[in-house]
């Protein structure tokens, strides 16, 4: 079985204390799981801003043709 590997990140102790306090009553069981959660949230919102369309104008015209043929577009 390949269990997932973890790595260690250092954060200032006062920050860790602050996080520990903030965690109370949230259901998080460790500073690590809390920090993981927050980082995933932050990174995903940064990535969302970088977002591009992902299909060319040419593709788009072809798609519109089919959508019109099927009656989805007028």
């Amino acid at each position: 079985m390949t269990e997932k590997k973890y790595t260690t990140v250092s954060i200032p102790i006062p920050l860790a204390k602050k996080i520990k306090k903030r965690m109370e009553g949230t259901g998080f069981t460790s500073i690590s799981s809390y920090v993981t959660y927050v980082l995933r949230q932050v990174i995903s919102s940064i990535e969302e801003e970088e977002q591009q369309e992902g299909f060319s104008k040419e593709d788009e015209e072809k798609v519109k043709e089919r959508l019109r043929a099927l009656g989805y577009l007028d």
Partner: protein
Amino acid sequence: MPKPHGGTLINRIVSSSKKERLLEEAESMTTLKLNGGLRKDVENIASGVYSPLEGFLCRDDFENVLHHDRLSSDIPWTIPITLDVDKATADELKREEEIILQTETGASFAMMSIEEIYGYDKDHMAESVYGTTNEAHPGVQKVRNMDDFLIGGEITQINETDSGFQNYNLRPIETRVLFKEKGWRTVVGFQTRNVPHLGHEYVQKTALTFVDGIFINPIIGEKKTGDYLDEVILDSYQTLMDNYYLKNRAVMSILQAEMRYAGPKEAIFHAILRKNFGCTHFIVGRDHAGVGDHYGPYAAQDIFDRFPDLDITPVFFKSFTYCEKCGGAVDGFICPHGEEHRENFSGTKMRKILMEGKIPPEHMMRPEVARIVIDADPKFVE
């Protein structure tokens, strides 16, 4: 529009210029026949419905999904998409780098590169996906019946298979262009496998009050005996939309996939698929994708707390009943009247009335919708 899951809309459908060459190569290659569910998985991978997957999971991703509900790239993913084969086939395919995938009737429709063949623990898989190893659960039953080895590797679709309902079969690139053309900045996805009653309509229209459009996305495919037939569901929804929805606010197309009845894990999976279609929101009702009483009524809503990086907003609904005093659909948080004034939107009861050829009360089901069901013969999966 939300970016596709993982950032890129996957397209593994071969271009027409390469198609002929691949078909020629295919003639000398080893073939593997896939059942309907696996065929749909291949097509969903190829068209980007399952983005970022580019093939069936290799062991690293498979284990990571079971342990952490994420691919090894840390992208949320809760249902392992796997291709199972028996020992003899596994031994035979070990010698191959690429194989041809065929439909049950022997039509070649995709190519697969074999990256890895591996064994797996069925109990672990059942426990992780379904939260139980109880064989009364249809999903657990399915895992038990799977063959003992999994093949991982990328696929490329060469030919479209005829899955029916071509007029309602939009790929993610098509729904994305469609939403854009309609000027929808926010779109809520609605998953269904039922004929619509007033309770469904209430949920959909409530959601529509705060988003630009609704994407009605029935699951088409293998169902349980007694479920409504796919065409009955599509016809009844089309009728509902024609009569009771604004044309520029609602769109319907199908999702070809098997129900897994994995409750919470499947709710996340369903949300990811709708994000790939271009939805910004996804409706999760009571006991979404549940079966029997295997999951808590709101487990499929609570699980979203664990995924801050899903990038699609779940919209949670409780279950609604009809209140004669309010004159509409209500839940316990909006209606002050007692149980004696309320009536459940009971699918079972409506089905019974419809089977007698009668129209259910108008506060339960639109008469136009009821008429479609009454006129359909057969109505149900046998």
